[in-house]
């Protein structure tokens, strides 16, 4: 097990109160597995990433029942150890908007070799070999090593970032919206690259893929988790999540995505917007937008039910799922939810 998180909570203290950015997230990532986290703005993805690589501000409160990376407790680990041993070598990050992560006045190849030599004992030639190999793996010509960041196109920069994340052969790579904002052909190339890298990699690498694009997640992930307002609403193996969704939010998301293979399908949006994470919501966080809400839902937080092995749902009305799946396909159902008025 590469990553094991149980009941992770990250709270930010601000003037007006406490923002419960992550409120009890549990997920696990196995070796050589791609776990996709789908969620819209405000769902807590960025906080989760920052918590995992220890970039949260001092005032943030991070608690968890368990937070292990390769059986080491990374929550309790002192910062220095984390930075030297885990970051980049164990857990690497491909950040959103790759451009800003590169120093514009240094050649890209130099930045890469410097990164490697700072963390290992390899000499310059060996570092260059590693960089060259990885550039090749992501489809960048070796010549680009001598180029400056501004000479890279958007897609190329993203690929360079992916290469950089793999420099020290980490066990887990976190990819934050890796293809958002890129043209579809460029996106396709990158996704294909990632698949190729996984297949031929000497050391297996697991990926935590975080994006709002359900299609990308469907294509890339082995397992999928649906995030909303700081919690996981549902998580399961990819096909099972798509074929047998349980949570109303998942049902709603499925209808909200157009597909070129389903030209006549009616698109249905979920009225309302995510809750303000400062507010104390005693019940289910999705209750306000849920068309299937009952008074019970708003009184207590639903439990994380394991409805089937490996399939978790955060809802108390799973017994009605057959009915819900039918109703969710009808626009009127969603327009009757309270957030629609």
């Amino acid at each position: 097990m590469i990553l094991e998180i149980e009941n992770l909570k990250t709270y930010y203290k601000i003037e007006k109160g406490v923002v419960k950015a992550n409120d009890g997230i549990s997920l696990s990532i196995k070796e050589n597995e791609v776990v996709g986290l789908a969620g819209e703005s405000g769902c807590g993805k960025s906080t989760l990433i920052r918590t995992l690589i220890r970039l949260v501000p001092q005032s943030a409160q991070v608690t968890a029942d368990k937070m292990n990376f390769m059986d080491q407790d990374i929550l309790a680990m002192p910062e220095k150890d984390f930075r030297e041993k885990i970051l980049w070598q164990g857990i690497a990050l491909v950040p959103q908007s790759a451009m800003n992560a590169l120093n514009p006045v240094y050649r890209v190849g130099d930045q890469c070799t410097e990164a490697i030599s700072a963390h290992t004992d390899y000499d310059k030639a060996e570092c260059e070999q590693i960089v060259k190999r990885l550039f090749d793996a992501v489809g960048l010509q070796a010549g680009m090593m001598k180029a400056y960041p501004h000479e890279f196109s958007g897609g190329m920069r993203q690929r360079a970032m992916i290469a950089m994340s793999l420099l020290l052969s980490p066990a887990l790579v976190i990819m934050d919206e890796p293809t958002t904002g890129l043209d579809v052909l460029v996106q396709e190339r990158i996704l294909r690259n990632i698949k190729e890298i996984r297949q031929k990699s000497e050391s297996a690498v697991s990926i935590l893929l975080i994006t709002h694009d359900i299609s990308v997640i469907a294509e890339m992930s082995d397992r999928i988790g649906i995030m909303y307002a700081g919690r996981l609403m549902e998580s399961a193996e990819s096909r099972e999540l798509f074929n047998e969704p349980y949570h109303p939010y998942t049902l709603g998301l499925k209808n909200a995505f157009p597909s070129i293979k389903a030209l006549d399908r009616e698109l249905i949006s979920i009225p309302g917007s995510p809750p303000n994470l400062i507010e104390d919501i005693p019940g289910c966080l999705f209750a306000f937008r849920c068309p299937f809400v009952i008074p019970e839902c708003e009184k207590t937080r639903p439990p994380d039910l394991e409805i089937k092995p490996g399939h978790m749902v955060h809802c108390i009305r799973t017994d009605h799922v057959e009915e819900f799946r039918k109703l969710a396909g009808d626009k009127k159902t969603w327009q009757s939810s309270r957030s629609a008025t």
Partner: protein, 325 residues
């Protein structure tokens, strides 16, 4: 009568060579041919989707059609009148009938204007309506866009979500009851769960208020859902144009084929084909003669390198610009 007839639209930008360039090598000014010969017609009430990656010229073409930028060449005929020849009052009228919906709901609204002021602005700028008429029409349009006027009219942009702001942008565009609306990627900056609602809004209003719509996007999934006809552009030229269903299910042009193959599907079981295309997206600077797609086409022939393929019908209503046909 077609509402819009664009023929051979061209938009070139001239890059002046650097001082050093002129000194050293007698460098000539370089030309960016952002739009290079785009021709199509639009009927009343139809929704035309324009697809293409960045740099294909779709947004540039829209600016020219909206009369926000003067084209370098070609003609744009609105209701059979050339917009370049319009007088000042005709242009004012044009603005009443041709409107834009912008991509960024955060940036396209004046942060100092309330919703009411923003939506009333086109009326104040372009019509002589009385205060009462303006108030009525504005409130009507705000409601039409799905927002309750009492609740929203005094709000400022920073007090609203992205979806709400975009609805205000739509209200702004529709308050004058235009006949042609150009929507430039209106959904790309919105959360996915609310996109469907805005898309439906545009579609419904287009039918109800009977306006034509040019919907520009790089997202083929969205375009396949909303547009009746689809136009695929590459480096300033149209590669394929036809009924959406035909173009998406039976694409002819190699670029269109590659593009459609590349679109991911929200279905884990789907095995996506590999797009048959090579190379990186090129810049429209000093393009070589012949087909714009030659550097990336896997089926390129000699003729492609010196003659530009014309946009020809391969089936009724389905045209392709390729020498393979």
């Amino acid at each position: 009568m077609a509402i819009l007839e664009v023929s051979d639209l061209k938009q070139y930008f001239y890059l002046q060579p650097t001082f050093l360039g002129k000194l050293v090598g007698g460098a000539k000014p370089r030309i960016i041919k952002a739009v290079d010969g785009v021709s199509f017609t639009m009927q009343h009430g139809e929704i035309l989707g324009v697809a293409g990656e960045s740099g294909c010229g779709k947004s540039t073409a829209c600016l020219a059609i909206a009369k926000l930028r003067e084209p370098t060449g070609g003609d744009i005929l609105y209701k059979e009148r050339n917009i370049a020849e319009m007088s000042k009052s005709e242009t004012r009228n044009y603005r009443r009938e041709v409107q834009l919906i912008f991509q960024d709901p955060y940036e396209s609204l004046n942060p100092r204007y309330t919703v009411f002021d923003s939506v009333a602005e086109p009326l104040r700028a372009l019509t002589d309506k009385s205060k009462a008429e303006i108030r009525e029409r504005t409130n009507e349009t705000i409601a039409l866009a799905g927002l309750t006027p009492e609740e929203y009219k005094n709000r400022y942009p920073h007090q609203m979500s992205g979806g709400e702001r975009q609805r205000v942008g739509i209200a702004q565009a529709l308050v004058l009851e235009p006949k042609l609306v150009i929507a430039d990627e209106p959904l790309s900056m919105l959360d996915v769960s609310i996109r469907a609602g805005i898309l439906d809004l545009i579609r419904d209003l287009s039918k109800r208020m009977n306006f034509s719509c040019i919907y520009v996007s790089h997202d083929l999934s969205i375009l396949s859902n909303i547009s009746e006809r689809l136009m695929i552009m590459y480096l300033g030229r149209i590669m394929e144009l036809g009924v959406t269903r035909d173009v998406v299910t039976d694409p002819h042009h190699p670029y269109a084929r590659a593009l459609i193959a590349a679109v991911p599907i929200p279905d884990p079981a789907y095995k996506r084909p590999i797009p048959k295309i090579k190379g990186e997206v090129a810049q429209p600077i000093d393009p070589p003669p012949g087909c714009r797609f030659q550097t990336r086409c896997l089926q390129v022939m000699d003729i492609c390198r010196d003659t530009e393929p014309p946009l020809k019908e391969v089936k009724p209503g389905h045209a392709v610009a390729c020498h393979l046909y």
